[in-house]
């Protein structure tokens, strides 16, 4: 796969992740009810872990996906490094939140799981791009 292909796939995936995060943020801010097949979405979204330093985690995710998309669109060595750094940070933090869901909240949010899948794919793409640039 060419670096151009990796960058394009990253932008598309980041857009998908941003769309999910925007949905979670809008429902949270408007007081609506999440569409949820797993049954644990409201438990997770109303938990204390849904906020970070007073900001909704969904808003933080939106900023993260925008940063990944920006780094993916940019060219050059620094863009590759920033792309991989932001994507790996997102992967680590989403892994922590997954453990929180399973171990502490004992509730699964399908939207959060979807974001986890997107973030994992984004990290893989960013690492492939980094490897291609390091050759």
């Amino acid at each position: 796969v060419s670096e151009r292909g990796l960058r394009l796939a990253s932008v598309l995936l980041a857009a998908a992740g941003a769309a999910i995060s925007a949905y979670l943020l809008v429902v949270r801010e408007t007081g609506g009810t999440l569409v949820c097949a797993t049954g644990g979405c409201e438990t997770v979204q109303s938990s204390r872990y849904a906020e970070l330093l007073g900001f909704p985690v969904a808003a933080l995710a939106l900023v993260g996906f925008a940063a990944v998309a920006g780094a993916a669109l940019a060219r050059g060595e620094w863009a590759r490094l920033a792309h991989a750094t932001v994507a790996l940070t997102a992967l680590g933090f989403s892994g922590y939140l997954l453990v929180v869901q399973v171990v502490e909240l004992e509730a699964i949010c399908q939207w959060c799981m979807s974001v986890d899948v997107v973030v994992t794919a984004l990290a893989a793409l960013a690492l492939l791009r980094l490897r291609a640039g390091l050759r």
């Binding site: 204390r48 970070l52 330093l53 790996l88 940070t89 680590g92 933090f93 922590y96 390091l134």
Partner: protein, 51 residues
């Protein structure tokens, strides 16, 4: 900076930076998530109360 010119060090720098950022985010999340303890005045009164 010269070391960052080599691929191995660049990769290591990415990993270390990402790990540090994750640690900061997790710490912020735990800080916000710790259940609140007793109010300071109530805790002092409780400690000083005759038994």
């Amino acid at each position: 900076m010269a070391r960052l010119q080599t691929p191995r060090w660049r990769f290591a720098a990415v990993l270390v930076t990402a790990a540090a950022l994750v640690a900061l985010l997790v710490a912020a999340s735990r800080l916000r998530s710790e259940p609140a303890g007793p109010e300071p005045v109530a805790a002092i009164e409780s400690a000083l109360a005759p038994r």
